[in-house]
Symmetry: C2
């Protein structure tokens, strides 16, 4: 069927272009010639478009041609160049996940949920850790308008009123899904937990456990969860007729050494708090260290409650009472919503999903 002479010529031509490419690409190396549609087409004596359509199982191609093409493609381990397709189709099958921190079990589990469902749907996941640095977040987000990612799942480190970089992203047609640390005024999906109620219930629980001087350590006064949780804390105190004392509202500076002295000073003052409600698990751990250092009896002298997804909370001494968020499910839901926005924009209606956290009583609150 295939004429001999042209094949020989093809072989020579291919060899030449092969070695040229090799030099151009790597200088030296054992890497074989890249195999692409053109290569498959020439080996099969078909056109590039026919091969392309055959591989995509197009109805325009006969059954046995498809088989020939697919067999050869499998044999040669053909892998389509994703960037060529992306360039043509304006979609990369890639999403970005942007988180403030990774040494935090909440984000770990969320990332796991994100990654798992994204991969199940055929998406690749680029990960960006902002290290609580708003400038870095802006920088990263601004560069996402270039088509590298089809959509973004983000938990903010920027203040709630400083999100024009995300507005810009949205205007450029890149869907954004927020989770946990969210923004307002966006026509996009926002996935949170019931922060206000959790903080309210947590604070009230501390009161019920006998605390009257309850401090709160928040991660920031400029992000959504910081505000919501603070408000829940305040309202619970008010409802119990307990004065809200500003000096007992500790605000993290995102520097663990600073935070440690902040908490330490608060706990060592005269008439010190008898209850502490922390918003992130690292602050709870810092508190453990402080209590050990200064021999503060927990839960005797100080009761501690923290938002946390630590797998070791029940093994600590004393075991840590926690408000635990459904982190994994949040990650899953975020990606599901994002992919819906990407693939069925008509059926996508941005929604505010609000999931419930669960309060787990343990020894640190005198259980």
């Amino acid at each position: 069927m295939a004429p001999i002479v042209p094949d020989g010529l093809f072989a020579i031509i291919n060899f030449l272009s092969s070695s040229l490419k090799r030099i151009y690409k790597k200088g030296v190396g054992m890497n074989m010639e890249p195999i692409n549609l053109k290569k498959l087409a020439s080996l099969l004596h078909l056109s590039i478009s026919t091969v392309s359509k055959a591989l995509r199982d197009s109805h325009e191609i006969s059954a046995d041609t498809k088989k020939r093409v697919m067999d050869l493609a499998r044999e040669l381990n053909y892998e389509p160049n994703p960037y060529a397709g992306s360039l043509r189709k304006f979609k990369s099958k890639t999403i970005a996940v942007v988180v403030p921190d990774i040494i935090n079990n909440f984000f770990i589990f969320a990332i796991k949920g994100i990654q798992e469902t994204a991969h199940a749907k055929g998406y690749h996941v680029l990960i960006y850790i902002t290290n609580e640095n708003p400038e870095y977040e802006k920088d990263v987000v601004r560069h996402m308008t270039n088509g590298r990612v089809d959509g973004v799942v983000i938990s903010l480190t920027s203040p709630i009123d400083d999100t024009e970089h995300l507005m810009h992203l949205q205007e450029k047609g890149v869907p954004v899904v927020f989770f946990d640390r969210v923004a307002e005024g966006f026509d996009s999906t926002i996935i949170t937990t019931n922060n206000y109620e959790s903080a309210y219930n947590g604070t009230r629980y501390l009161i019920e456990q006998g605390c009257r001087r309850i401090a709160h350590c928040q991660v920031s006064d400029k992000i959504s969860i910081g505000i919501d949780r603070l408000n829940g804390y305040k309202k619970a105190l008010e409802d119990a007729g307990i004065e809200v004392r500003p000096e007992w509202i500790l605000t993290s500076k995102k520097d663990s050494a600073h935070d440690a002295t902040l908490i330490e000073n608060a706990l060592l003052q005269k008439n010190a708090p008898d209850g502490l409600f922390t918003s992130v698990e690292t602050h709870a751990l810092i508190t453990y260290d402080i209590c050990r250092k200064h021999k503060i009896d927990m839960p005797g002298k100080l009761k501690l409650l923290s938002f946390s997804n630590m797998p070791t909370a029940h093994l600590l001494k004393p075991s840590l009472s926690t408000i635990t968020q459904p982190a994994f499910e949040i990650g899953q839901a975020a990606v599901q919503q994002l992919i819906l926005a990407l693939e069925k924009p008509a059926r996508y209606i941005p929604e505010k999903v609000n999931m419930d956290s669960v309060l787990i009583e343990r020894e640190s609150t005198g259980k």
Copy 2:
């Protein structure tokens, strides 16, 4: 300077093509027209190649032309399409990190190190979690020959003798750097810790603490660290004249329920172990739960030592003695080596980096 009529015409033409593109791309939406080199060129009455060169600060372009171009690019928030460049240049400025698990502080810190240094060097990071599934790892790795990533940093879940998928990757010219769970026979950088010595010293330490019936729980008998650590464990027993009992070598089935009963049965048999040396922190946590459930006194009846990077090890009850690996530094080193291989292939010599873990004595071993 610029003639008025042509500009007006351009505007009309641009508007038309804009609305057309909008319909083609999204159907509907507030997204503006994408801005690319062609657009910049037409606005500036320059050629595409001139604009391209100006943006890359080429010496072929005059200073004021560069300024005009860059000013407009900044004003319009021009972002070069990364995939077009990747297609042209055969490099994506993207690396993949493949890890078996993410609910494991070792990998968390490693990922942090990887991500941080990769971004510092201008690389993007795709993350793949294999969930200890070799088939999934193979699937993922096989699809990495298509140019999506320039290189791969991997900690294996596949058995040490089943790595042809990685061979294939290397043959295709994609550099691979292994860390922690590594493979043999590859001409590439391998970053490990001194697993044999750590296991030897850890086991000897347990002996010194009075243990005579020491069990070892390994993550797998088919991966590098499993083998090395087991051998260190065995050697330490032999050197102390203690018999190595096969039934005390527990091998994880990568299913936490199964592992729990495995360890539970081992600890409940008559003449049970008085020491346990676990290779991953999850097994240590399982052991804590078992001890609590069955009221096994730790460290009285059972001493526990584990490889672990848990930030809460010192806060557990009892605090956990650990062998802690320099996870963050491993991640850093892995990426540094990979980028060296990518950018200075001439100066890159694959090496076997071996870092030291540190044994931290705490209460779980009777400190």
